[in-house]
Protein backbone atom coordinates (compact mmCIF):
# COMPACT_ATOMS: atom_id res chain seq x y z
CA UNK A 1 0.00 0.00 0.00
CA UNK A 2 1.44 3.37 -0.98
CA UNK A 3 1.47 6.28 1.41
CA UNK A 4 -0.91 8.23 -0.83
CA UNK A 5 -3.41 5.42 -1.08
CA UNK A 6 -3.32 4.87 2.66
CA UNK A 7 -4.37 8.50 3.19
CA UNK A 8 -7.38 7.73 1.03
CA UNK A 9 -7.95 4.62 3.11
CA UNK A 10 -7.77 6.72 6.25
CA UNK A 11 -10.43 8.97 4.81
CA UNK A 12 -12.58 6.02 3.81
CA UNK A 13 -12.32 4.38 7.21
CA UNK A 14 -12.41 7.34 9.53
CA UNK A 15 -14.26 10.23 7.90
CA UNK A 16 -17.76 9.31 9.02
CA UNK A 17 -16.76 8.32 12.57
CA UNK A 18 -14.79 11.54 12.94
CA UNK A 19 -17.73 13.63 11.72
CA UNK A 20 -19.90 11.97 14.34
CA UNK A 21 -17.31 12.61 17.02
CA UNK A 22 -16.99 16.23 15.93
CA UNK A 23 -20.76 16.58 15.98
CA UNK A 24 -20.82 15.52 19.61
CA UNK A 25 -18.17 18.11 20.37
CA UNK A 26 -19.65 21.07 18.51
CA UNK A 27 -23.35 20.20 18.23
CA UNK A 28 -23.72 21.15 14.58
CA UNK A 29 -23.44 18.58 11.79
CA UNK A 30 -22.44 21.04 9.07
CA UNK A 31 -19.77 22.64 11.24
CA UNK A 32 -18.57 19.20 12.24
CA UNK A 33 -17.96 18.25 8.62
CA UNK A 34 -16.05 21.46 7.97
CA UNK A 35 -13.86 20.93 11.01
CA UNK A 36 -13.17 17.28 10.18
CA UNK A 37 -12.13 18.25 6.67
CA UNK A 38 -9.76 20.82 8.20
CA UNK A 39 -8.38 18.08 10.42
CA UNK A 40 -7.75 15.81 7.44
CA UNK A 41 -5.80 18.63 5.80
CA UNK A 42 -3.66 18.93 8.93
CA UNK A 43 -3.02 15.21 8.93
CA UNK A 44 -2.09 15.28 5.26
CA UNK A 45 0.37 18.09 5.93
CA UNK A 46 2.24 15.91 8.44
CA UNK A 47 1.58 12.64 6.64
CA UNK A 48 5.25 11.84 6.18
CA UNK A 49 5.96 11.89 9.91
CA UNK A 50 2.72 10.61 11.39
CA UNK A 51 3.24 7.18 12.91
CA UNK A 52 -0.29 6.54 14.10
CA UNK A 53 -2.66 8.18 11.64
CA UNK A 54 -5.85 7.18 13.45
CA UNK A 55 -4.74 8.61 16.78
CA UNK A 56 -3.25 11.67 15.14
CA UNK A 57 -6.45 12.29 13.21
CA UNK A 58 -8.59 11.96 16.33
CA UNK A 59 -6.37 14.41 18.19
CA UNK A 60 -6.55 16.77 15.23
CA UNK A 61 -10.33 16.56 15.19
CA UNK A 62 -10.63 17.15 18.93
CA UNK A 63 -8.20 20.07 18.89
CA UNK A 64 -9.86 21.63 15.88
CA UNK A 65 -13.27 21.33 17.50
CA UNK A 66 -11.96 22.73 20.77
CA UNK A 67 -10.41 25.68 19.00
CA UNK A 68 -13.66 26.32 17.20
CA UNK A 69 -15.57 26.11 20.46
CA UNK A 70 -13.15 28.46 22.15
CA UNK A 71 -13.50 31.05 19.42
CA UNK A 72 -17.25 30.70 19.58
CA UNK A 73 -17.28 30.99 23.34
CA UNK A 74 -15.40 34.25 23.09
CA UNK A 75 -18.12 35.58 20.83
CA UNK A 76 -21.04 34.48 22.90
CA UNK A 77 -21.59 34.63 26.61
CA UNK A 78 -22.58 31.54 28.48
CA UNK A 79 -26.27 32.39 28.77
CA UNK A 80 -26.59 33.12 25.10
CA UNK A 81 -24.99 29.81 24.27
CA UNK A 82 -27.59 28.09 26.43
CA UNK A 83 -30.39 29.79 24.54
CA UNK A 84 -28.87 29.00 21.17
CA UNK A 85 -28.29 25.37 21.96
CA UNK A 86 -31.63 24.45 20.45
CA UNK A 87 -31.86 20.78 19.56
CA UNK A 88 -33.29 19.35 16.39
CA UNK A 89 -37.09 19.54 16.38
CA UNK A 90 -37.52 15.79 16.51
CA UNK A 91 -35.23 15.58 19.50
CA UNK A 92 -36.72 18.35 21.61
CA UNK A 93 -37.12 16.03 24.54
CA UNK A 94 -33.40 15.28 24.67
CA UNK A 95 -32.59 17.45 27.64
CA UNK A 96 -29.30 15.77 28.32
CA UNK A 97 -28.04 16.78 24.90
CA UNK A 98 -29.06 20.36 25.60
CA UNK A 99 -27.17 20.36 28.86
CA UNK A 100 -24.13 18.79 27.25
CA UNK A 101 -23.99 21.77 24.90
CA UNK A 102 -23.75 24.14 27.86
CA UNK A 103 -20.83 22.40 29.55
CA UNK A 104 -17.43 24.06 29.50
CA UNK A 105 -15.58 22.86 26.43
CA UNK A 106 -13.06 20.74 28.31
CA UNK A 107 -15.74 18.95 30.33
CA UNK A 108 -17.71 18.25 27.18
CA UNK A 109 -14.64 16.91 25.42
CA UNK A 110 -13.78 14.69 28.36
CA UNK A 111 -17.33 13.29 28.52
CA UNK A 112 -17.46 12.59 24.80
CA UNK A 113 -14.02 11.01 24.59
CA UNK A 114 -14.58 8.94 27.70
CA UNK A 115 -18.11 7.71 27.03
CA UNK A 116 -18.48 7.86 23.25
CA UNK A 117 -14.97 7.06 22.07
CA UNK A 118 -14.60 4.84 25.14
CA UNK A 119 -11.04 6.01 25.66
CA UNK A 120 -9.18 5.27 28.89
CA UNK A 121 -8.50 8.24 31.13
CA UNK A 122 -4.82 8.22 30.25
CA UNK A 123 -5.57 8.56 26.55
CA UNK A 124 -8.11 11.29 27.15
CA UNK A 125 -5.49 13.07 29.23
CA UNK A 126 -3.00 12.87 26.38
CA UNK A 127 -5.49 14.36 23.94
CA UNK A 128 -6.63 17.12 26.30
CA UNK A 129 -3.10 17.82 27.57
CA UNK A 130 -3.77 17.30 31.22
CA UNK A 131 -3.21 14.72 33.90
CA UNK A 132 -5.46 11.66 34.22
CA UNK A 133 -6.67 12.97 37.58
CA UNK A 134 -7.81 16.10 35.82
CA UNK A 135 -9.74 14.00 33.32
CA UNK A 136 -11.41 12.26 36.22
CA UNK A 137 -12.36 15.62 37.67
CA UNK A 138 -13.63 16.93 34.34
CA UNK A 139 -15.77 13.83 33.82
CA UNK A 140 -17.01 13.98 37.39
CA UNK A 141 -17.99 17.62 37.10
CA UNK A 142 -19.52 17.13 33.68
CA UNK A 143 -21.63 14.23 34.85
CA UNK A 144 -22.60 16.16 37.96
CA UNK A 145 -23.81 19.04 35.80
CA UNK A 146 -25.79 16.66 33.60
CA UNK A 147 -27.37 15.06 36.66
CA UNK A 148 -28.12 18.41 38.22
CA UNK A 149 -30.04 19.55 35.16
CA UNK A 150 -31.50 16.20 34.16
CA UNK A 151 -32.22 14.18 37.29
CA UNK A 152 -32.83 10.53 36.71
Amino acid sequence: MTRASSFVDLYRDRYDPMVRLAYLLVGDAAVAEELVQDAFVKVHRHWGSVEHPNAYLRTAVVNTCRSWGRRRAREQDHQRRRLEAVPDPELVADEMWDVLATLPERQRSAIVLRFYEDMPEAEVAAVLRCRPNTVRTLVHRGLAALRREVPR
Binding site: R20, D38, H46, E105, R106, Q107, F115, A126
Partner: protein
Amino acid sequence: MTTPIEPPDTRHDDGDVRRMLDERARSVTPQGTFADIEARLGEADAGRRRGRVVLAAAAAVVLVVLAAGLFALGEGDPDETQRIDVADSSTTEIPPTSESPQTTGQVTTTDGTDGSDATVTTSSAVDSSDSVEDPDVDTADEPPPGRAVSELTPVRIDGIGAISVSMTVTEASAATGQDVAIDPNSYLNGTGGCGFAQIDGLPGIWFMVDGDRITRVDITGAGTPNPTDAGVGVGSTPAEVRAAYPGMVTEEPHLYPMDDESRNLVVTDPAHPGHQIIFSVHQGAVVDYRAGLSDWVAMPEGCA
Protein backbone atom coordinates in the same frame (compact mmCIF):
# COMPACT_ATOMS: atom_id res chain seq x y z
CA MET B 1 -0.87 24.89 47.79
CA THR B 2 -2.61 23.03 45.01
CA THR B 3 -6.26 22.62 44.23
CA PRO B 4 -7.48 19.35 45.67
CA ILE B 5 -8.76 16.88 43.14
CA GLU B 6 -12.23 15.61 43.75
CA PRO B 7 -12.47 11.86 44.17
CA PRO B 8 -13.84 9.94 41.22
CA ASP B 9 -17.49 9.06 41.29
CA THR B 10 -17.09 5.35 40.77
CA ARG B 11 -20.68 4.61 41.69
CA HIS B 12 -22.03 6.38 38.70
CA ASP B 13 -24.08 4.54 36.13
CA ASP B 14 -23.14 6.29 32.93
CA GLY B 15 -25.16 4.04 30.64
CA ASP B 16 -27.72 6.73 29.86
CA VAL B 17 -24.97 9.17 28.89
CA ARG B 18 -23.38 6.59 26.62
CA ARG B 19 -26.75 5.84 25.03
CA MET B 20 -27.51 9.50 24.48
CA LEU B 21 -24.13 10.11 22.82
CA ASP B 22 -24.45 7.03 20.67
CA GLU B 23 -27.96 7.89 19.51
CA ARG B 24 -26.95 11.44 18.75
CA ALA B 25 -23.89 10.38 16.82
CA ARG B 26 -25.86 7.88 14.77
CA SER B 27 -28.35 10.59 13.85
CA VAL B 28 -25.67 12.28 11.73
CA THR B 29 -25.18 11.31 8.09
CA PRO B 30 -21.97 12.85 6.77
CA GLN B 31 -22.35 14.50 3.37
CA GLY B 32 -18.73 15.25 2.51
CA THR B 33 -16.63 13.48 -0.09
CA PHE B 34 -12.93 13.03 -0.63
CA ALA B 35 -13.16 15.74 -3.27
CA ASP B 36 -13.85 18.21 -0.44
CA ILE B 37 -10.58 17.23 1.19
CA GLU B 38 -8.72 17.51 -2.10
CA ALA B 39 -10.13 20.98 -2.64
CA ARG B 40 -8.95 22.06 0.79
CA LEU B 41 -5.53 20.61 0.18
CA GLY B 42 -5.33 22.66 -3.00
CA GLU B 43 -6.33 25.82 -1.15
CA ALA B 44 -3.77 25.12 1.56
CA ASP B 45 -1.00 24.65 -0.99
CA ALA B 46 -1.94 27.89 -2.70
CA GLY B 47 -1.90 29.67 0.65
CA ARG B 48 1.56 28.39 1.43
CA ARG B 49 2.82 29.49 -1.96
CA ARG B 50 1.39 32.97 -1.34
CA GLY B 51 3.05 32.98 2.06
CA ARG B 52 6.41 32.11 0.54
CA VAL B 53 6.10 34.91 -1.98
CA VAL B 54 5.25 37.41 0.75
CA LEU B 55 8.12 36.21 2.89
CA ALA B 56 10.57 36.36 0.03
CA ALA B 57 9.45 39.92 -0.68
CA ALA B 58 9.76 40.86 2.99
CA ALA B 59 13.20 39.31 3.17
CA ALA B 60 14.25 41.26 0.10
CA VAL B 61 13.08 44.52 1.70
CA VAL B 62 15.00 43.77 4.87
CA LEU B 63 18.10 42.92 2.89
CA VAL B 64 17.89 46.20 1.05
CA VAL B 65 17.56 48.08 4.35
CA LEU B 66 20.49 46.21 5.83
CA ALA B 67 22.58 46.77 2.77
CA ALA B 68 21.81 50.48 2.92
CA GLY B 69 22.82 50.55 6.56
CA LEU B 70 26.03 48.75 5.85
CA PHE B 71 26.77 51.09 3.01
CA ALA B 72 26.20 54.06 5.32
CA LEU B 73 28.57 52.58 7.88
CA GLY B 74 31.13 52.01 5.21
CA GLU B 75 30.80 55.60 4.13
CA GLY B 76 31.40 56.75 7.71
CA ASP B 77 34.73 54.98 8.03
CA PRO B 78 35.87 53.61 4.70
CA ASP B 79 39.14 52.30 6.06
CA GLU B 80 37.61 50.06 8.64
CA THR B 81 36.05 46.74 7.84
CA GLN B 82 32.64 46.65 9.46
CA ARG B 83 30.90 43.58 10.74
CA ILE B 84 27.39 43.71 12.08
CA ASP B 85 25.89 40.76 13.85
CA VAL B 86 22.15 40.81 13.49
CA ALA B 87 21.60 37.92 15.86
CA ASP B 88 20.55 40.28 18.63
CA SER B 89 17.44 41.89 17.26
CA SER B 90 17.48 44.45 20.06
CA THR B 91 20.24 46.27 18.23
CA THR B 92 18.31 46.51 14.99
CA GLU B 93 14.91 47.64 13.81
CA ILE B 94 14.00 44.17 12.65
CA PRO B 95 10.59 42.96 13.89
CA PRO B 96 10.70 40.50 16.75
CA THR B 97 11.49 37.19 15.21
CA SER B 98 14.19 34.86 16.28
CA GLU B 99 15.56 34.51 12.81
CA SER B 100 17.01 37.36 10.86
CA PRO B 101 17.66 37.63 7.18
CA GLN B 102 21.16 38.00 5.86
CA THR B 103 22.65 39.30 2.72
CA THR B 104 23.84 35.99 1.42
CA GLY B 105 21.55 33.55 3.16
CA GLN B 106 18.98 31.35 1.57
CA VAL B 107 15.31 31.81 2.31
CA THR B 108 13.35 28.75 3.23
CA THR B 109 9.94 28.25 4.72
CA THR B 110 8.60 25.78 7.18
CA ASP B 111 5.59 23.75 6.30
CA GLY B 112 3.40 25.63 8.70
CA THR B 113 -0.29 26.32 8.80
CA ASP B 114 -1.16 28.41 5.81
CA GLY B 115 2.07 30.09 5.09
CA SER B 116 1.48 32.77 7.69
CA ASP B 117 3.73 31.08 10.16
CA ALA B 118 6.44 30.31 7.72
CA THR B 119 9.84 31.29 8.95
CA VAL B 120 12.89 32.67 7.30
CA THR B 121 15.85 30.48 8.04
CA THR B 122 19.20 32.11 7.66
CA SER B 123 22.59 32.25 9.15
CA SER B 124 23.16 35.20 11.36
CA ALA B 125 26.10 37.22 10.27
CA VAL B 126 26.23 39.99 7.76
CA ASP B 127 29.68 40.95 6.67
CA SER B 128 29.99 44.16 4.79
CA SER B 129 33.46 43.33 3.65
CA ASP B 130 32.51 40.32 1.53
CA SER B 131 34.79 38.51 3.89
CA VAL B 132 35.46 34.88 4.51
CA GLU B 133 32.92 34.56 7.33
CA ASP B 134 31.73 30.98 7.61
CA PRO B 135 28.10 31.04 6.44
CA ASP B 136 27.30 27.90 8.39
CA VAL B 137 28.08 29.48 11.74
CA ASP B 138 24.70 30.28 13.22
CA THR B 139 24.66 32.40 16.32
CA ALA B 140 21.05 33.54 16.07
CA ASP B 141 19.81 30.99 18.59
CA GLU B 142 22.45 31.67 21.16
CA PRO B 143 20.80 33.57 24.03
CA PRO B 144 22.50 36.33 25.92
CA PRO B 145 23.92 34.85 29.13
CA GLY B 146 21.79 34.74 32.25
CA ARG B 147 18.40 34.93 30.53
CA ALA B 148 17.20 31.44 31.36
CA VAL B 149 13.88 31.17 33.18
CA SER B 150 14.10 29.58 36.63
CA GLU B 151 11.72 28.80 39.46
CA LEU B 152 12.46 32.24 40.88
CA THR B 153 12.13 34.35 37.76
CA PRO B 154 9.54 37.05 38.43
CA VAL B 155 6.37 37.02 36.35
CA ARG B 156 5.33 40.23 34.64
CA ILE B 157 1.87 41.06 33.39
CA ASP B 158 3.25 40.48 29.90
CA GLY B 159 5.58 37.55 30.40
CA ILE B 160 8.32 36.01 32.48
CA GLY B 161 12.01 36.79 32.27
CA ALA B 162 13.15 36.94 28.68
CA ILE B 163 9.83 35.54 27.45
CA SER B 164 7.07 37.93 26.51
CA VAL B 165 3.59 36.98 25.43
CA SER B 166 3.10 37.17 21.65
CA MET B 167 6.49 35.54 21.12
CA THR B 168 6.56 32.31 19.18
CA VAL B 169 7.81 29.22 20.96
CA THR B 170 10.88 29.35 18.75
CA GLU B 171 11.55 32.91 19.80
CA ALA B 172 11.02 32.05 23.46
CA SER B 173 13.47 29.16 23.20
CA ALA B 174 16.02 31.40 21.52
CA ALA B 175 15.52 34.16 24.10
CA THR B 176 16.10 31.88 27.06
CA GLY B 177 18.37 29.24 25.65
CA GLN B 178 15.93 26.66 27.00
CA ASP B 179 13.73 24.30 25.10
CA VAL B 180 10.19 25.62 25.40
CA ALA B 181 8.50 22.41 24.31
CA ILE B 182 4.91 21.76 23.33
CA ASP B 183 3.36 18.42 24.20
CA PRO B 184 3.09 16.83 20.76
CA ASN B 185 0.18 14.68 21.85
CA SER B 186 -2.07 17.58 22.60
CA TYR B 187 -1.06 20.25 20.17
CA LEU B 188 -0.93 20.48 16.44
CA ASN B 189 1.01 23.00 14.46
CA GLY B 190 -1.91 23.48 12.14
CA THR B 191 -4.26 26.42 12.13
CA GLY B 192 -6.13 27.35 15.22
CA GLY B 193 -4.47 24.90 17.57
CA CYS B 194 -4.18 25.79 21.21
CA GLY B 195 -2.12 24.00 23.79
CA PHE B 196 0.50 24.35 26.46
CA ALA B 197 4.26 24.29 26.49
CA GLN B 198 6.77 23.84 29.27
CA ILE B 199 10.45 24.15 30.02
CA ASP B 200 12.02 20.95 31.23
CA GLY B 201 12.60 21.01 34.99
CA LEU B 202 10.03 23.72 35.70
CA PRO B 203 6.83 21.75 36.35
CA GLY B 204 4.88 24.68 37.76
CA ILE B 205 5.27 27.00 34.78
CA TRP B 206 3.04 26.53 31.74
CA PHE B 207 2.91 28.60 28.60
CA MET B 208 -0.38 28.72 26.72
CA VAL B 209 0.27 28.69 23.00
CA ASP B 210 -2.40 29.64 20.48
CA GLY B 211 -1.55 29.20 16.83
CA ASP B 212 2.19 29.73 17.09
CA ARG B 213 2.21 32.46 19.74
CA ILE B 214 2.57 32.36 23.50
CA THR B 215 -0.50 34.02 24.96
CA ARG B 216 -0.17 33.59 28.70
CA VAL B 217 1.97 32.21 31.53
CA ASP B 218 0.42 29.97 34.19
CA ILE B 219 2.04 29.52 37.59
CA THR B 220 0.66 26.53 39.47
CA GLY B 221 3.07 26.61 42.39
CA ALA B 222 4.20 23.05 41.76
CA GLY B 223 7.76 23.47 42.97
CA THR B 224 8.11 26.79 41.21
CA PRO B 225 7.22 29.72 43.49
CA ASN B 226 7.73 32.37 40.79
CA PRO B 227 6.27 35.47 42.40
CA THR B 228 5.25 38.37 40.22
CA ASP B 229 7.54 41.34 39.84
CA ALA B 230 5.37 43.01 42.47
CA GLY B 231 6.35 40.32 44.97
CA VAL B 232 3.16 38.28 45.32
CA GLY B 233 2.25 34.83 44.10
CA VAL B 234 1.07 31.41 45.20
CA GLY B 235 0.37 31.56 48.93
CA SER B 236 -0.20 35.32 49.06
CA THR B 237 -3.36 36.63 50.70
CA PRO B 238 -5.86 38.81 48.83
CA ALA B 239 -4.76 41.74 51.01
CA GLU B 240 -1.17 41.25 49.92
CA VAL B 241 -2.21 41.14 46.27
CA ARG B 242 -4.19 44.36 46.67
CA ALA B 243 -1.26 46.03 48.39
CA ALA B 244 1.09 44.93 45.61
CA TYR B 245 -1.18 46.30 42.90
CA PRO B 246 -2.85 49.36 44.47
CA GLY B 247 -5.98 50.44 42.63
CA MET B 248 -5.57 47.79 39.94
CA VAL B 249 -7.38 44.80 41.47
CA THR B 250 -10.99 43.84 40.89
CA GLU B 251 -12.79 40.73 42.07
CA GLU B 252 -14.82 38.24 40.11
CA PRO B 253 -16.48 34.97 41.11
CA HIS B 254 -14.47 31.79 40.79
CA LEU B 255 -15.81 29.30 38.24
CA TYR B 256 -15.33 26.45 40.69
CA PRO B 257 -15.72 27.87 44.19
CA MET B 258 -14.44 25.61 46.93
CA ASP B 259 -15.34 27.78 49.88
CA ASP B 260 -16.80 31.15 50.75
CA GLU B 261 -13.47 32.80 50.10
CA SER B 262 -13.05 31.44 46.57
CA ARG B 263 -12.67 34.22 44.05
CA ASN B 264 -10.49 35.56 41.28
CA LEU B 265 -8.46 38.71 41.76
CA VAL B 266 -7.99 40.41 38.41
CA VAL B 267 -5.11 42.84 37.94
CA THR B 268 -5.28 45.31 35.08
CA ASP B 269 -2.58 47.89 34.58
CA PRO B 270 -3.28 51.02 32.48
CA ALA B 271 0.34 50.92 31.42
CA HIS B 272 -0.26 47.50 29.82
CA PRO B 273 -3.61 47.58 28.01
CA GLY B 274 -4.79 44.21 26.76
CA HIS B 275 -2.97 42.34 29.52
CA GLN B 276 -4.13 40.88 32.82
CA ILE B 277 -3.04 38.85 35.78
CA ILE B 278 -5.67 36.64 37.42
CA PHE B 279 -4.96 35.25 40.87
CA SER B 280 -7.11 32.26 41.80
CA VAL B 281 -7.93 32.35 45.50
CA HIS B 282 -9.20 29.51 47.66
CA GLN B 283 -9.28 29.32 51.44
CA GLY B 284 -7.84 32.78 51.82
CA ALA B 285 -4.74 32.43 49.68
CA VAL B 286 -3.64 32.40 46.05
CA VAL B 287 -3.43 28.81 44.77
CA ASP B 288 -2.34 29.62 41.23
CA TYR B 289 -2.24 32.53 38.84
CA ARG B 290 -1.85 33.39 35.19
CA ALA B 291 -0.61 36.45 33.31
CA GLY B 292 -0.59 37.61 29.74
CA LEU B 293 -2.99 38.66 27.01
CA SER B 294 -6.40 39.39 28.52
CA ASP B 295 -8.50 37.31 26.14
CA TRP B 296 -6.47 34.23 26.94
CA VAL B 297 -5.88 34.91 30.62
CA ALA B 298 -9.66 35.13 31.02
CA MET B 299 -10.14 31.53 29.88
CA PRO B 300 -10.91 29.55 33.00
CA GLU B 301 -10.22 26.07 31.68
CA GLY B 302 -7.03 26.05 29.75
CA CYS B 303 -7.80 26.82 26.14
CA ALA B 304 -11.50 27.33 26.78
